[in-house]
């Protein structure tokens, strides 16, 4: 079993990202969960989304989680959200920011000594998709850091997940995934 927590703002696509990842994982024969805490959250409100991935059927429905990966897709949330809650010793952080890793850690001392990766999903999303929806680039970064799947396999799978959208949007998302995969460090 491994677990992922997403920190996002409502409207940035964390739920769609978590569900997209779940769809890809499911096609490889593994078991998945994707869920979120909504409340009556409005667009822009801080929220969290979650994935569980396992070789066995997942019957744990508790919301509590000590995740292996914490994905932060809004740059400001490292300053306002309790994003290190229930972390493990070896939890990996992938953070969206236009700053480099050193400056990100300097701006949030809680990150010192942790395994931190930084990628500017927001700029990538703006340059490719044309909207501030940093969910798919974050998945590209996750593929790089976690080594879950080969990037070419993952992109092929995401084309299928996104099949309902016009070709232009699919292409932009795949481009965003690749760029984040290449740029995260």
């Amino acid at each position: 079993m491994f677990e992922i927590r997403w920190h996002s703002r409502a409207g940035q696509g964390a739920v769609t990202g978590a569900k997209g990842l779940a769809e890809v994982v499911s096609t490889t024969g593994k078991h998945v969960q994707a869920f979120a805490f909504y409340g009556s959250a409005k667009r822009g409100a801080a929220m969290t989304a979650y994935n569980r991935v396992s070789d066995k059927r997942i019957i744990n429905h508790e919301k509590f989680m000590s995740p292996e990966y914490i994905l932060i897709i809004d740059p400001a949330l490292i300053h306002t959200a309790d994003f290190t809650a229930h972390e493990k010793e070896n939890t990996k952080y992938i953070i969206t920011s236009h700053l480099n890793k050193e400056d990100v850690i300097k701006s949030q001392p809680k990150l010192e000594g942790k395994e931190v990766y930084v990628v500017d999903c927001m700029s990538i999303a703006m340059d490719t998709i044309g909207r501030a929806i940093p969910n798919t680039p974050m998945l590209g970064a996750l593929m790089k850091i976690s080594g879950m799947y080969e990037i070419d396999f993952f992109k092929e799978s995401m084309i299928n997940v996104l099949r309902k959208f016009p070709q232009k949007i699919i292409d932009a998302n795949i481009d965003a995934i690749q760029r984040a995969y290449d740029q995260v460090n």
Binding site: V32, F35, G39, F64
Partner: protein, 406 residues
């Protein structure tokens, strides 16, 4: 003719989508619905399927849940296959019409995505609405996850519409914890699902002008009791054999086995947790972990809430020494429903375990693995002592000083 949808063998669906897809596969004649969180996507998805040509039936948008169930009653009396979905305050508003539906013996399917009842307003999952419906004369099926929500919809249509039953049925799933959690769901093809449910066979349809029928008549002291007694008689004697038959047919079709109660390692267990909804799944996970430590614990999940499976439940608990009953609804000045029903089921049985109750998870408060371990530990202490070592009613997961009663 509706288009068929090609489904993967395993689709990543949340509980709402699972219910919507089963409803689509049932090819319902009329869905009258009014949206409310967290059940909104059930009818939203369904309306999308209809707009995209996957459904031939009618979708009626109405002005309230009272109207939604009233529309369902009219359409069912007219002679059609009928279903809808609701939650919480919507369910509250439907209550009057729920009794009309069951009293008129109309096999309507209602997906209830369980949510807390205001005040204070809360959109998250607990079982308050489900508990409110338990005397309404409906059959109530209980899903622990999205797979169950899909399977039990297919099962419910076939049970409710059987001419030996002719009663409406609810499928309950936990708001958000099931309804908005995407997971892998094993699917049936459209043809297999439809053939499992079968064609709708009307009975005393109002639109059959050759055989005029009246629905919803007035019966005073002269006949009212006889009608209610007959309905109760059918719930007590005729429904369960049909449910068993359909569970068996479903297992033959899919390999997935359902029973009135889910018996998870109870046969040699000293301690049982009795629960409903997602908590059954999580409790099974915890029980398995404790088994590895050599602790003799098990779980009983209540799959069919109404008709209440007294004998099956007493049989499943016939060897345990302690039972912990988990109620996800504020009992309002008494013990929880499960505590009450379990005591009732066990009192005249040969086994008399120590029975304690827990109120938990109101308004979506998390039921964690750690809490469940603590409850099993209480049960083990009770089993060893042969009497309650805690108050009979404990509140789990509420902030502030520990809250106990009785």
């Amino acid at each position: 003719m509706a288009d068929k949808m090609d489904l993967l063998d395993v689709e990543v669906w949340d509980g709402n989508m699972a219910a919507s897809q089963a409803m689509r596969q049932a090819q319902i004649d009329v869905v009258a619905a009014y949206p409310i969180t967290p059940s909104t996507p059930v009818v939203e998805n369904y309306a999308g399927f209809l707009a995209n040509g996957y459904i031939d039936g009618e979708f009626v948008m109405v002005e309230s849940e009272h109207a939604a169930m009233s529309g369902c009653i009219g359409a069912a009396a007219a002679g059609g296959r009928v279903a809808t979905a609701t939650s919480s305050q919507g369910f509250d508003l439907m209550v009057e019409t729920l009794y009309q539906a069951s009293g008129m013996r109309l096999p309507i399917i209602l997906n209830v995505v369980n949510r807390a009842l205001a005040a204070p307003l809360n959109v998250n999952g607990d079982h308050s609405d489900m508990y409110l419906g338990r005397d309404s004369g409906w059959i109530q099926f209980n899903a622990y996850n999205a797979q169950d929500a899909y399977d039990l919809n297919l099962i419910a249509f076939r049970v409710a519409e059987d001419h030996k039953v002719r009663l409406p049925a609810m499928i309950h799933q936990d708001g958000f914890m099931t309804s908005h959690t995407a997971e892998g769901v094993l699917t049936l093809s459209d043809d297999d699902a439809y053939n499992f449910i079968g064609d709708y066979k009307p009975m005393n349809a109002m639109l059959d002008f050759e055989k005029p029928a009246t629905y919803g008549v007035q019966t005073e002291e002269d006949w009212h009791f006889e009608h209610k007694a007959r309905q109760h008689n059918d719930l007590m004697t005729k429904v369960n054999p049909v449910i068993q038959e359909v569970f068996d047919a479903f297992e033959k079709e899919t390999g997935r086995k359902f029973d009135f109660v889910t018996n998870h390692n109870l046969d040699d267990a000293d301690v049982a947790i009795v629960a409903m909804g997602t908590t059954v799944d999580t409790a099974m996970l915890v029980a398995d972990q404790l088994r590895e430590e050599g602790k003799k614990v098990g779980v009983l999940g209540l799959r069919v809430i109404r008709p209440f499976p007294f004998e099956k439940l007493a049989a499943a608990l016939s060897n345990v020494k302690a039972v912990c009953c988990m109620d996800r609804s504020a009992p309002g000045g008494t013990v929880g429903m499960l505590y009450n029903e379990i005591c009732g089921a066990m009192y005249n049985s040969a086994n008399h375990p120590v029975i304690t109750g827990y109120v938990y998870g109101l308004g979506g408060r998390d039921m964690t693995v750690e809490y469940l371990k603590g409850i099993f530990a209480d049960g083990e202490a009770n089993a060893a002592a042969g009497k309650p070592t805690t108050p009979l009613q404990q509140f789990i997961g509420v902030r502030g000083p520990k809250l106990n009663f009785l």
